[in-house]
């Protein structure tokens, strides 16, 4: 049995609101992709929303966050405005990366969102470095790094874990285990499928979490954060979750059964949490409709913002390959 729904009520409903914000944003993005408004790669997080919503609500707003190419939700919940995320997917200069990054490379210095990394496991060593800098400067902020279970086959995972534990750095390693590295199932690609056992080889504290349960994610992440912030070294969390949509818009999904997908959808994080809120009398049909309407409005405002956005002038193509003499470097 999962932990009780957190209080106060506003917070409990906020978790649902944030999951819905990601879901509706991405559903709209998929439609816009179909219309050719969004191009390049588009990787949807649909099905996995409980992980980032529960986890980021357990962090402090100024903790550093690093994510993968499936990071719309991470950017959004870290505080990047939906308008700027949508504009980025449109390739407009009002986007959070001026239209240079697109869906896979959302960045925002203001909220300490360090991307948007499209090389699997690429963010892990960066998180170690951010945590090292924090430690050397006497700060208390953490670096939370999200990655898929596929990243655990990369050398960067092993090198980063070893460094983080060796130097006892404040890194939260957040593994989103959705069972497939693109189309390759975990059991077909890694000899050790017990991910916590694999991580524990580096003497790191570990915890496996039901990643479909936003409350469980929030609670487990909160406990891990407390430990890391207390200076007890890094922490590895395995969130067991599932991607409901294809890997990207180009994926015919030949590698998994439709029945398996349907089975997981029954445990959908939004579906389950809505039912719990309803059962506990925290949300009725009217309340839900109001919430949906509010989110719908935010999404449509984001689309309007992106549509109205402008293209970066072509003369600026080479701007910021190097830092201009009069510009600020990294804060």
């Amino acid at each position: 049995m999962s932990a009780p729904v957190p209080s106060p009520r506003d917070f409990a409903l906020g978790l649902l609101r944030d999951m819905l914000r990601i879901r509706r944003l991405e559903e709209r993005a998929a439609e816009l992709y179909g219309q050719g408004k969004i191009r390049g790669f588009l990787h949807l997080y649909i099905g996995e929303e409980a992980v980032v919503v529960g986890a980021l609500h357990a962090l402090a707003p100024d903790d550093a966050v690093l994510a993968t190419y499936r990071e719309h939700g991470h950017a959004l919940i870290q505080g990047v405005p939906m308008t700027r995320i949508m504009a980025e997917m449109y390739g407009k200069q009002e986007g959070c990366s001026r239209g240079r990054g697109g869906s896979m490379h959302l960045f925002d210095a203001r909220t300490r969102f360090f991307g948007g990394n499209a090389i699997v496991a690429g963010g892990l060593p960066l998180a170690v470095g951010l945590a090292l800098a924090e430690r050397m400067q006497g700060g208390k902020r953490l670096a939370a790094c999200f990655f898929g279970e596929g990243a655990m086959a990369e050398g960067a995972f092993h090198e980063a874990l070893n460094l983080a534990v060796l130097w006892q750095l404040p890194v939260l390693f957040c593994c989103e285990n959705n069972l497939y590295a693109m189309g390759t199932a975990l059991a077909r690609s890694q000899s050790q499928t017990d991910l916590c056992a694999k991580a524990a080889a580096y003497k790191i504290a570990t915890q496996v979490v039901d990643g479909m349960d936003v409350v469980a994610v929030h609670q487990a992440t909160g406990a891990a954060v407390e430990q890391v912030r207390a200076g007890q070294g890094p922490y590895f969390l395995e969130y067991q979750t599932y991607r409901f949509r294809a890997h990207s818009m180009f994926d015919p999904e030949l590698y998994r059964d439709k029945a398996e997908v349907e089975q997981w959808k029954k445990r959908g994080p939004i579906l389950a949490y809505k039912a719990r809120l309803n059962a506990e009398g925290l949300l009725d049909e009217a309340g839900l409709a109001a919430l949906e309407a509010e989110v719908e409005q935010e999404v449509e405002a984001a689309v309007a913002f992106a549509e109205a956005g402008s293209l970066e002038p072509q003369e600026d193509l080479c701007r910021d390959v190097y830092t201009p003499a009069n510009a600020q470097g990294t804060p």
């Binding site: 070893n162 460094l163 190097y322």
Partner: protein, 324 residues
């Protein structure tokens, strides 16, 4: 004021100065601490600055170069030593996919003020996996700045401006130079944006850098005795290239020979010659030439290694052909 020193000591003094001047600076890499640095560059620094700032790393080039990028993003000014260019191949992903791209890809939000130091080059019978000269490869990448100190002044003076640079700077130290000895002019101005004329001459421009500068100067000396006045340009900065200094020299000499320890195909020498041809084709009296390494994995046997690398006689011969 001048002081007798070595290239190695000049590098160490530069590290010490940087550590003393800026508390955000730290050195991290394999065997930089207890061992004192593979080439003894950081010897004594651990005792002076402690383990937090002279940080020994495991053999994890990908991991600690990435961590260096993260630390730079987090407000530090890391100097990451990758022992040798050969091992930097294990860190190509963070260097090229992250350090070089981040500022542009983030729409100008994140600069990466990282300095990466590494030894490069052949000449010590270390065979094919320890003799690469791949700095030319790195010059292909927008977003990186590439330095090749070939003199005591540059060994002493390039690090500080590199640390002041908000973008990633790679410093290539030719392994044959660490024992270079001489008088160091402490007040010589050092920048990280220009090439230098190291010897003046009107008949031919020899363009070299790093490990080939000494060979080019030796060749110029020999050519002088044979009636050819060679001008020697030390590139110093391999990216961005200082076209103006190169073009000014060849407009005077009208003949150019590039000496590059990299392999010929797709080399930095090829890029330099392409630029010359693009910008000054009609000012040339002869087709530009180059002396590069033979296109083989560098062999162990001394005579074969010697034959594979650019040597003074080959430079002299190529110069005669150009001036003939």
């Amino acid at each position: 004021m001048s002081q007798h020193t070595t290239y190695r000591e000049a590098l160490r003094e530069a590290l010490r100065e940087a550590m003393l001047r800026d508390s955000r600076v730290f050195l991290m890499g394999e065997d930089v601490g207890r061992y004192g640095g593979t080439y003894a560059v950081s010897k004594g620094l651990l005792e002076e600055f402690g383990e937090a700032r002279i940080r020994d790393t495991p053999l994890s080039e990908l991991g600690f170069v990435g961590a260096g990028i993260g630390a730079a993003l987090g407000g530090m000014r890391p100097i990451v030593e990758v022992m040798t260019v050969n091992f930097s191949l294990l860190a190509l992903d963070p260097i090229i996919n992250t350090a070089a791209t981040l500022r542009h890809m983030s729409g100008g939000q994140f600069s990466v003020p990282l300095v990466l130091r590494m030894a490069t080059g052949a000449g010590r019978q270390l065979a094919a996996q320890h003799s690469h000269s791949l700095e030319g490869w790195y010059t292909h990448i927008p977003g990186l700045k590439i330095l090749a100190p070939a003199t005591l002044e540059d060994a002493r003076g390039m690090l500080w401006p590199a640390l002041q640079d908000p973008d990633p700077v790679l410093i290539f130290e030719h392994a044959q130079l660490y024992n270079l000895e001489g008088e160091l002019n402490q007040h010589a101005p050092v920048d990280i944006c220009s090439a230098r004329v190291r010897r003046e001459g009107g008949d031919l421009s020899l363009i070299a850098y790093g490990g080939t500068l000494g060979k080019a100067l030796a060749a110029a000396e020999q050519l002088a005795g044979e009636g050819i006045a060679a001008e020697v340009i030390d590139l110093r900065v391999l990216r961005p290239l200082d076209d103006a200094t190169i073009l000014a020299s060849l407009r005077k000499t009208r003949r150019v020979l590039v000496v590059d320890e990299g392999w010929r195909s797709g080399s930095l020498a090829a890029e330099i010659i392409a630029r010359i041809v693009e910008q000054a084709f009609y000012e040339l009296d002869a087709a530009p030439a180059r002396v590069c390494s033979a296109e083989v994995p560098i062999p162990y046997a001394k005579h074969l290694e010697h034959a594979a690398l650019p040597q003074v006689p080959a430079i002299v011969a190529a110069a005669h052909e150009l001036c003939g």
